[in-house]
């Protein structure tokens, strides 16, 4: 999977936040539908971070530290990501499916939102009318995704009473939108500088990288909408342990795998 050459130079400027006007809008529209260019943009942003290292100078004044800590103390953590109701068993089979379906639908709304905005620029009044609805849907999408992926959300897996907790992953994949939400729990801790890599096993061809993840201290992790080629038909999903930079192909035995239910 490689980025489109005609956007190569503009992607660099975009990564530097130096692309403006129509060129930026055009690239925004393309990025909304091109996982390869999104991936290249992410890599270019990583490259720009290297430039920051060439800066040298004095340390910030001591007062800056106290100023920040005072400001932090004045802003206690809002429980926004902990709004999930513990009474709802999200991880029950039905809840899982429903929650993920809503998440994928809502995420697709977010994607379409980007393309839609470009079209509606021609008609400001129409844009204003729909913007509030878009915001509402986007807010709902974020709430759902935040609930699914928040590290402090209560996650309950119901299993037979005599079964010890087992590593478990659930992938929800919408092929026609290239949308993937993956949630895992009870994952064993990783060795240093390693990460779990999720693979989409297509019906034909080699496994496709579908995101890297590291479990939190409770063994939970998530991958939401990794860059994927358009329309890849999945036969199964699998997990291996790879170097934390990721690998284009599995280099270790498959630890977990599942096919469609």
């Amino acid at each position: 999977m490689s980025a489109h050459e005609q956007y190569a130079d503009d992607l660099v400027l975009y990564a530097l936040d130096a692309l403006r006007g129509e060129e930026r809008a055009r690239l925004d529209e393309h990025l909304a539908t091109c996982p390869a260019c999104r991936l290249e943009l992410e890599q270019l942003r990583g490259d720009t971070a290297l430039l920051a290292l060439s800066a040298t100078g004095p340390r910030p004044p001591q007062r800056a530290r106290q100023r920040l800590l005072d400001a932090v103390a004045r802003e206690p953590r809002l429980p926004s990501v902990a709004k999930a109701s513990p009474r709802r068993s999200w991880w029950g089979a039905l809840g899982w499916a429903a929650a993920a379906a809503v998440a994928i639908f809502a995420l697709s709304l977010w994607r379409e939102n980007a393309a839609l905005k470009a079209e509606l620029r021609q008609d400001l009044l129409a844009w204003r009318a729909s913007a509030s609805q878009q915001e509402l849907e986007l807010g709902q999408a974020r709430d759902v995704v935040a609930t699914l992926t928040a590290s402090d959300a209560m996650r309950v897996t119901l299993v037979s009473a005599k079964t010890p907790p087992q590593p478990q992953g659930k992938a929800f994949y919408l092929r026609n939108r290239s949308s993937l939400v993956f949630l895992a729990n009870n994952m064993p801790p990783l060795p240093p500088q390693k990460a779990y890599e999720l693979w989409l096993i297509p019906t034909t061809g080699a496994p496709i990288p579908a995101g890297l993840f590291k479990p939190d201290e409770r063994g939970s992790a998530s991958v939401v909408n990794p860059p994927l080629p358009a329309g890849a038909e999945a036969k199964a999903f699998a997990i291996t342990v790879e170097n934390e930079a990721g690998s284009p192909a599995p280099t270790t035995p498959i630890l977990m795998m599942g096919t469609g239910e």
């Binding site: 190569a8 130079d9 503009d10 660099v12 400027l13 530097l16 936040d17 130096a18 992410e42 890599q43 270019l44 942003r45 990583g46 490259d47 720009t48 971070a49 290297l50 430039l51 920051a52 290292l53 060439s54 800066a55 040298t56 100078g57 004095p58 340390r59 910030p60 004044p61 800056a64 530290r65 100023r67 920040l68 800590l69 932090v72 802003e75 206690p76 953590r77 935040a146 992926t149 590290s151 402090d152 087992q166 064993p188 801790p189 990783l190 060795p191 240093p192 500088q193 390693k194 990460a195 995101g211 890297l212 993840f213 590291k214 201290e217 934390e244 990721g246 270790t252 035995p253 630890l255």
Partner: protein, 196 residues
């Protein structure tokens, strides 16, 4: 199921090796932020404030303005720690991108154009320790030093001054296409230095 669990455990043990856990330590601190741990913020500030302040100061050239950007970036992290996607990029790299963008916004006296949640970058070098950072910085300066002066200038104008390619072309008198190509080639040269 027991066989699977046994294999899984063995595979993890096989891959285990005693190495520093800088990025993992950052992840633990960000998890602390999510639960409101102010001490975690102090540790992250001590770890990255020098780097981020140097970036802001290089862009803005004014200590007061650089301090304001530093404050704003850390407060954004405090308010929205979930914006950091640990699967992509190290925290230091991510914060440096946000700091540079915010400093450019401040330099150009414009409202921030990009939400920090939209700043996603690929896995990049571990910058958690002073040694790793110094080594990476030396490598960056080495690559910059080998660039043709016109290429280095174009890249630095784009990065440190936030100039668009057309502004750079106007200032240097070079064609737009040449400027774009130079900036791209410069960044790719940096990438290759860290891949090799």
């Amino acid at each position: 199921m027991r066989d699977f669990a046994y294999f899984f455990k063995k595979e993890i043990e096989r891959l285990s090796s005693p190495q520093p856990q800088g990025i993992s330590a950052d992840l633990a601190l960000v998890t602390g932020l999510k639960s409101g741990d102010q001490g975690a913020m102090a540790v992250l500030y001590d770890r990255y404030s020098s780097l981020l302040y140097a970036v802001a100061l290089r862009v803005l050239g004014d200590t007061g303005a650089a301090e304001d950007v530093l404050q704003e970036v850390f407060l954004q992290l405090w308010r929205k720690p979930t914006a950091f996607d640990a699967a992509r990029g190290s925290l230091g790299s991510w914060l440096s991108v946000i700091t540079r963008n915010r400093a450019i916004d401040s330099l150009r006296k414009r409202r921030p154009e990009t939400d920090i949640e939209d700043v996603i970058l690929s896995v990049s070098p571990d910058l958690t320790g002073n040694v790793e950072r110094a080594s990476a910085a030396e490598k960056v300066r080495g690559v910059m030093g080998t660039m043709a002066p016109a290429q280095r200038t174009a890249l630095e104008m784009a990065y440190w001054e936030g100039m668009s390619h057309s502004e750079i072309a106007d200032k240097t008198g070079e064609p737009l296409g040449t400027v774009k190509t130079r900036i791209r080639a410069g960044l790719i040269a940096l990438r290759r230095a860290f891949q090799g």
